[in-house]
């Protein structure tokens, strides 16, 4: 670890920033049917992935689908967590990147980054007002078992701000 700065070391000056990263106001969870995904060729996916957030009462829509429209507040930190639905299969999931195809809710300094070592949790910041930002999230699904295989999948949900 020497030579690498942890997130905490980079931002020690700002306790509010630290608190936001540690406890994002807007939480997005992505549950993945890994057996289904591993049976596809990867790439753009249209089922087997289910998204939820904690902002239904703030007018999020599309809960439980791939087309989640998260409605958050400007200045919110957004946590993105991926989890496999079946914990017994030994399959693992991790986030490998974000691409923005429309809108600019994150800007530059709010662009999502991995937090923690596991790779299944990323945090972004809604830096800019945006009625609709369309993003693509890329997830790596790796099977457990004798000969692990990997699929990279992506789809495009939305984020808007109050």
């Amino acid at each position: 670890m020497s030579g690498q700065k942890s997130t905490a070391q980079v931002w020690t000056a700002d306790s509010q920033v630290l608190a936001g990263i540690a406890n994002p106001q807007t939480a997005i969870t992505i549950a993945i049917d890994t057996a289904y995904v591993l049976g596809t060729g990867g790439g753009n996916i249209s089922t087997g992935v289910y998204m939820f957030d904690n902002r239904l009462s703030n007018d999020s829509s599309g809960e439980g689908t791939l087309e989640l429209r998260t409605h958050c507040n400007i200045g919110d930190y957004l946590g993105f967590e991926v989890v496999p639905i079946d914990p017994n299969a030994g399959d693992t999931v991790s986030i490998t990147g974000f691409q923005i195809s429309q809108g600019s809710v994150f800007g530059s300094d709010g662009y999502p980054m991995q937090v923690g070592a596991a790779g299944n949790y990323w945090v972004g910041l809604a830096r800019n007002a945006s009625s609709q930002t369309t993003y693509q999230i890329q997830v790596k699904v790796t099977s457990g078992g004798l000969r692990p295989s990997t699929r990279f999948i992506q789809w495009d949900p939305y984020i808007g701000t109050n």
Partner: protein
């Protein structure tokens, strides 16, 4: 006899938005399973209809959508259903006190009642009653 979660081919996750749940509503509660390939319908809703094979063990777990939340959520109880047959009634799992496991012993489609306890941080408790279903193939 309690079944360990590791013996369950069918996995159902219940996800809770603690900011949206209220007594008498299923808003903010979403169910998913690992059986879309087998024909499960209503994934991502409170009315999940899980496709399972007769004799399968099923595991249910409940989680908060916000992993950093200090609220508490748990499964309170499972009601009776024809799906459980004579000895499949879900009970607390033998290897995980927060999970429930059961067996679908009768073919056909049947709904089952399940209730959740949600205690939002700093607030009072909320009971959420769900009535999802299983479609069991012989």
């Amino acid at each position: 006899m309690a079944i360990p979660t590791t013996s369950c081919d069918v996995q159902v996750q219940i996800w809770v938005d603690e900011n949206a749940v209220t007594n008498g509503s299923t808003a903010g509660v979403y169910l998913v399973d690992n059986r879309i390939s087998a024909g499960t319908t209503h994934e991502g809703t409170a009315n999940l209809n899980t496709a399972a094979s007769k004799g399968s063990n099923v595991c249910w777990q409940v989680f908060l959508i916000n992993p950093k939340s200090t609220s508490q959520v748990s499964i309170a109880a499972f009601g009776n259903s024809s799906a459980w047959g004579f000895s499949g009634q879900p009970q607390t799992a033998s290897d995980n006190a927060s999970a429930y496991t059961g067996t679908v012993q009768n073919a056909g489609t049947a709904s089952y009642p399940v209730s959740l306890n949600v205690q939002v941080a700093g607030g009072s408790g909320i009971t959420v009653k769900l009535n999802p279903s299983v479609t069991v193939s012989a």
